[in-house]
Symmetry: C2
Subunit: 160 residues, 2 copies
DNA sequence: ACTTTGTATGTTATAACATATCAATAGTGA
DNA sequence: TCACTATTGATATGTTATAACATACAAAGT
């Protein structure tokens, strides 16, 4: 990644294809099953650098005959999150594809409130200062949520 | 603050009283109205260093005849959050009293998954590295959510 | 006192997000 | 093939949050 905080990728179609291929490779390597629903769910998330709600995903899946009840979407999303192919954005109760899976990261998200774009950074924040503070207090961190909401570069310009 | 990340306060009853008094003072200073429902909601949150769901709060309010419908709790909680007397914990969809209101902070939370205790730190994290990263990308941060889930010192000991 | 205005509350209904449970099925390894 | 496990399908429900509208009520001006 040349741009650690990318609000755009050079070629999104390539970006998608690559990430999908990586997911497939990882699954067959580790013995996970990227079933049709799961695969399609990942494609749906990859299609946009936005966070989608579970019901948004469900609506798309359902339109393609891939299941119509909430658990279908939640199971697929949970699988992707556990496998490291997607993340949950807690501030939005929504999900987004991971843009650098495999890397052992505790991601940071920059969420644009105007265009809903989500950028994934890896600032090492939780390993650094937060980790230090926690260790000092004797707290053992298992998971971190770091999310910033605001305006992305594009929307800042539009506002001006 | 001697202990920036306090998992306990020396005397919780004093802690509560002080914070309530601060809230009252702030309200009359700024012209906000700490009505019975709002005041009681703050007391409820202050009663424990835990995050409570809106419906937990509602149940307690309701038992005291202070309103029985969801909006009652949500409005009171929204007021407290806006006024800076409480925070929403996004990872839990729950609310907790702010332990150092007035200070201009972008807080960090350490959430124990075993005892549900929430500690509020102010590591300056979002002003530091995260802020730098965002500025570099041209992103304008308006709000940050920094939450770590894991085990607090007490529960680490119990586990061992 | 009386009206105006704005803030807060009450009430009903529903949107949005998430999970429990259990039966049916398909893939996998002995 | 059989047993085992993971996955899917289906139904129902639980949980969190807000929309929409009506009413109460306090502060400020006349």
């Amino acid at each position: 990644m040349s741009d650690p905080i990318g609000f755009q990728c050079a070629d999104h179609s390539t970006c998608m294809t690559t990430l999908l291929a990586q997911a497939e490779a990882h699954c067959s390597a580790v013995g996970l099953r990227l079933t049709p629903v799961r695969r399609r769910t990942l494609e749906i998330l990859l299609a946009e650098h936005r966070a989608l709600g579970a019901y948004d995903v469900l609506a798309l899946l359902s339109a393609e005959g891939l299941g119509s009840q909430p658990p279908v979407a939640y199971r697929a999303l949970d699988f992707l999150v556990k496998a490291g192919f997607a993340h949950k954005i807690e501030a939005l109760n929504a999900y987004t594809a991971c843009v650098h899976p495999g890397e052992d990261h505790t991601p940071t998200f920059l969420i644009c409130r105007a265009c809903q774009t989500v950028a994934e950074a890896d600032t090492g924040l939780s390993k650094g200062r937060l980790g230090d503070a926690a260790r000092a207090a004797g707290f053992v961190i298992e998971r971190t949520v770091v999310e910033a909401t605001g305006l992305c570069p594009d929307c800042v310009q539009k506002a001006a």
